[in-house]
């Protein structure tokens, strides 16, 4: 019997009815919908045992203990370490983004050697041999720049340079150098820290304590604890920021003139009292010049306000004055001393709630320079001199944990000096602007991949030594700079006496009489010992602090740092881009802040594209009208305008460092570049 049409349709109909009684259709639909939710390019999660490991975060200007959570051995998130005195459970935005930086597209995966305009891969053995050879040739014509003030790697680097007969070891400019110089002017000897937790009145002269100054996480905890006590936080500076949003008062003060205010306050406070501290008479005579009216004219703070502020300080139990440059670097030594003198006048030097002078870290690498000498070496002056031909360019320049090609004032000169260096070696973990210029790159492992240590960052209230064991094995072919340097030193006939970085740390722990096993487990060593100081009011010839001069039609440029945008060493992390608000960046352009009065006097309005220019360089930005800025001032954020790194930070905004000119402070030679003057025109 043939299958005619009717039968066929009937067969099919039977098939359809039957199918409806089977799971075929329903299950297929269900499975297809699941299939559509499981595209292979959507990452799958990894499961496993969770651990929280203590480590160190040095991405910003601080060095504090944090905890990293790992799942099945992979680091996943970072959080504060409640057991570390500089974290107390808090963490800053850079620290929170630190784990993902492990896999940043900007990471350098293996040693590289310059090949024309590009890089060629080179093996570790070849790279170390090459560097050793260059060092042997260069001898005393070697120099080093490090951005890591607290770690032993910088000591090894300085030791290597010292062994070769050179004194040219430099730290990147930060807060410690002017503060240490200030303390020295007062006859003190040691590292500067502040007992913020016990202060009763905190006067922040330019110091963005809750945003970017010194130990941000710990400052935040101290501030939070202060809210239950009658502690007052007063911020003095040209613009409102995160610190003023929560501080008890904001005193608008022209950019860079906060130290003048300190002297004005000192004048009022000194007139009221007698002090038997040596040098007081000279000091009192010195501050006579800083009458309230004079200071008011220079700073924009009304004379009456200055007098009230002085009264508040006198009446406060445990006042503490923190002087800083608004961006975290560029303050002169005298400027820092002005603030320090105020603390001394108020009797708060080496006292609870006041300034703490800590012992210097013990030096274990014999040929290394003393830290105080290192801090006294001015990097900007050196590079400027090299660029100008006044000093010989180094034959070998070693750069570690720093990005001088991006983050220094006199940037054109700095870049020219780096260019002049015959053999520029970068130990950078990331392809930053300096690494791009380098002749040889020996990539340091990322912080989570190596052993690291830190002795009392600037601001720490007591001597704290922290050791951080690696959280994970290196994911690329990188090595810890400390170990590489020791190996290269041996090959260059400049043996430093240590087999490994771990040996250096053990020696340091021994010198501090700290328990190495406990340190390796993540417990920091803390000391309550403070060396006795013989303080006197500054006895070196007293110079006048320069008032920033304004050219015609120029406005003051106040430079600030936002950790979520980046720091001097780190560009915007992959997880930081979203934290940048729509009023901070539009498309790929950054905003600068001016108030309406300033804008209208310059003939610009909201969202206009403007050019900020001065003798040092020029930058382009958009106008944000923000009434939290003094008139005649523009506020710009550092951290934008990267030309290297990766797509997360490259090509966004402009590099404000281009506008900073460093001037040698008369009398100390310290480079001052805390603020600048710029002219603004429509771009």
């Amino acid at each position: 019997m043939g299958l005619d049409r009717r039968s066929f349709i009937s067969l099919v109909a039977g098939g359809v009815v039957g199918s409806l009684c089977t799971p075929v259709i329903w299950k297929t639909l269900d499975d297809v919908s699941i299939w559509s939710q499981n595209w292979p390019w959507i990452p799958r999660l990894n499961y496993g045992e969770e651990k929280k490991l203590a480590t160190l975060c040095k991405l910003g200007g601080d060095a504090y203990g944090i905890k990293v959570k790992t799942v099945a051995g992979n680091p996943v998130t970072a959080e504060g370490n409640p057991d570390h005195p500089l974290s107390l459970g808090g963490i800053c935005p850079l620290g929170a983004a630190s784990v993902q930086m492990l896999y940043s597209p900007a990471r350098i995966k293996n040693p590289k050697i310059k090949d024309g305009n590009n890089f060629k891969d080179i093996s570790w053995d070849d790279a170390e041999a090459l560097l050793a050879e260059k060092l042997k040739e260069a001898g005393a014509a070697t120099a080093m720049i490090s951005g890591d003030e607290t770690g032993s790697t910088a000591e090894i680097l300085s030791g290597l340079v010292g062994k070769l007969g050179s004194q040219k070891s430099f730290f990147m400019p930060a807060e410690s150098a002017p503060a240490a110089a200030a303390v020295q002017m007062l006859g003190g000897d040691g590292q500067v820290g502040y007992d913020l937790e016990n202060a009763g009145y905190v006067l922040l002269l330019g110091a963005d304590a809750l945003g970017s100054w010194a130990n941000v996480a710990r400052n935040a905890k101290a501030f939070a604890a202060s809210r239950d006590k009658a502690v007052r936080y007063v911020y003095v500076g040209p613009a409102q920021n995160g610190t003023t949003a929560v501080a008890d008062a904001w005193i608008p003060c022209a950019a860079g003139t906060e130290p003048l205010l300190a002297l004005g306050l000192a004048h009022i406070i000194a007139s009221g009292r007698t002090s038997y501290a040596p040098g007081f008479a000279d000091f009192e005579r010195y501050v006579q010049a800083y009458q309230p009216e004079t200071v008011a004219a220079a700073t924009g703070v009304p004379a009456e306000r200055i007098m009230n502020l002085a009264k508040e300080l006198i009446n406060a139990g445990r006042p503490l004055v923190l002087t800083a440059s608004e961006s975290g670097h560029g303050l002169g030594a005298y400027e820092a001393a002005a603030g320090m003198c105020l603390n001394m006048l108020l009797g708060q030097m080496n006292a609870p709630g006041g300034v703490r002078i800590l012992p210097w870290a013990p030096k274990v690498v014999e040929s290394a320079a003393e830290k105080k000498d290192l801090l006294a070496n001015d990097l900007v002056a050196y590079l400027t001199a090299v660029a100008d031909g006044q000093e010989d360019a180094p034959k070998v320049l070693l750069v570690h944990s720093a990005n001088p090609a991006y983050a220094l004032p006199n940037l054109n000169k700095v870049q020219s000096a780096l260019d002049k260096a015959e053999f520029l070696v970068s130990f950078s973990t990331f392809m930053d602007e300096t690494a791009v210029m380098a002749d040889l790159i020996l990539p340091d492992s990322y912080a989570l991949e190596r052993l690291d240590d830190s002795y009392s960052p600037y601001g720490a209230p007591q001597a704290i030594y922290t050791v951080a064991a690696p959280v994970t094995k290196p994911i690329y072919d990188t090595r810890a700079a400390g170990d590489v340097l020791l190996s290269v030193a041996a090959k260059a006939d400049a043996e430093l006496g240590f087999e490994s970085f771990e040996a250096v740390i053990s020696a340091k722990a021994e010198a501090l009489e700290a328990e190495i096993d406990s340190l390796m487990e993540g417990t920091p060593w803390v000391s309550e010992e403070f060396p006795t100081q013989d303080l006197a009011f500054w006895s070196s010839p007293l110079k006048e602090i320069a008032v920033p001069a304004g050219a015609e039609k120029s406005v003051s440029l106040s430079v600030v740092t936002h950790l979520k945008i980046g720091s001097a060493a780190i560009a915007t992390p992959p997880f930081g881009t979203n934290a940048i608000r729509f009023d901070e960046m539009k498309g790929k352009e950054m905003y600068v802040q001016l108030n309406a009065a300033t804008a209208s006097s310059l003939g610009v309005k909201k969202d206009d594209r403007i050019k900020l220019a001065n003798a040092a360089g020029e930058c382009v930005a958009l106008v944000k009208i923000f009434e939290g800025v003094m008139s005649g001032t523009v506020v710009a954020s550092l951290g934008f305008g990267h030309t290297a790194w990766d797509d997360f930070s490259r090509g966004k905004g402009d590099n404000i460092y281009k506008l900073l000119q460093a001037e040698a402070e008369p009398g100390t030679g310290v480079s001052r570049f805390g603020s600048a003057q710029v002219t603004i025109s429509k771009a």
């Binding site: 939710q37 959507i42 990452p43 799958r44 999660l45 990894n46 496993g48 959570k69 992979n74 996943v76 998130t77 959080e79 504060g80 808090g90 963490i91 800053c92 935005p93 620290g95 929170a96 983004a97 993902q100 492990l102 896999y103 940043s104 597209p105 809750l210 945003g211 996480a217 935040a220 905890k221 501030f223 939070a224 809210r227 409102q240 920021n241 995160g242 610190t243 003023t244 949003a245 929560v246 608008p252 994911i475 950790l563 979520k564 992959p574 997880f575 930081g576 881009t577 979203n578 934290a579 729509f582 009023d583 498309g587 923000f626 009434e627 939290g628 003094m630 008139s631 797509d647 997360f648």
Partner: protein, 256 residues
């Protein structure tokens, strides 16, 4: 629509007198909840920020100007506008603590909930997440990776609630009676100034319920009747007044 009464009502109090706008909460939230890193985060209509931070201004010219920062997670409203409009029930207000859940595989991406939410707290995945090579190893096991086409929002880190219950169970304690600090979302845990506090609003001993009862506590857009479970606190009246829309010369306090 009736509000539900739950035994436990998870809530947050954010002290705007302590928030410096640093952004650590926003970054920590991304890391914890597997939000993808975004190369171009400038277009805020295309990016996701479960914890978003706004800059507040008192609107006065220099020198009377004042600034404040406001972190904004999902309000986990008592009377949510979003869950009532979802056509597929991919989001509901859950009886266990009043968290508004979001179920990614069920979401069809119609974005009706986004239109309904008055706080703009919901985000759409316009693109598939792109993780730079290797960075997907930093994904936490707590939250699935969302494909394009689904809506997501702050969940008060409810995975930490589940983890706290597991911890209580292995300790032999009652998982329904957790101590105050057992369950704390990533943002609250990480905030360096401790501006963000979290707890059970129904428990009179929890800090959040004490602060929420204060005269200085306020909620965003309270007059809409959403009954948010996120309270803000500020001693500054101008900050409190920014929480809602008021007529210029309104008389009386609209304290909710």
């Amino acid at each position: 629509m009736q509000a539900h009464n739950f035994k436990v009502k998870w809530g947050m109090v954010i002290d705007l007198d302590k928030c410096t706008g640093c952004g650590a909460c926003s970054v920590a939230c991304r890391a914890e909840n597997n939000l993808p890193p975004e190369v171009d985060a400038g277009n805020k209509l295309r990016t996701a920020d479960w914890m978003n931070i706004y800059e507040l201004s008192n609107g006065k010219p220099f020198p009377e100007h004042e600034v404040a920062y406001l972190p904004r997670p999902c309000m986990q409203c008592g009377k949510p506008s979003c869950s009532t409009v979802c056509p597929v029930v991919a989001t509901t207000k859950d009886e266990e603590g009043g968290i508004v859940s979001q179920v990614y595989p069920r979401c069809i991406g119609c974005r009706y909930c986004m239109a309904a939410c008055p706080y703009h707290a919901r985000y759409f995945n316009w693109f598939d997440p792109i993780w730079p090579e290797g960075m997907e190893k930093t994904l936490t096991p707590y939250v699935s990776a969302r494909p394009r086409g689904v809506v997501e929002k702050c969940t008060f880190c409810h995975h930490r609630f589940n983890a706290a219950k597991e911890q209580a169970r292995i300790n032999g304690e009652d998982p329904t009676a957790l101590p105050e600090d057992a369950y704390i979302p990533a943002c609250a845990e990480i905030c360096p100034t401790g501006a963000i506090k979290f707890g059970d609003l129904n428990n009179a001993e929890h800090e959040v319920s004490k602060i929420a009862a204060s005269d200085n506590a306020f909620r965003l857009l309270a007059k809409l009747g959403t009954d948010p479970q996120v309270y803000y606190y500020s001693k500054r009246e101008w900050v409190r007044k920014l929480g809602d829309n008021y007529l210029k010369n309104a008389k009386g306090e609209d304290h909710v």
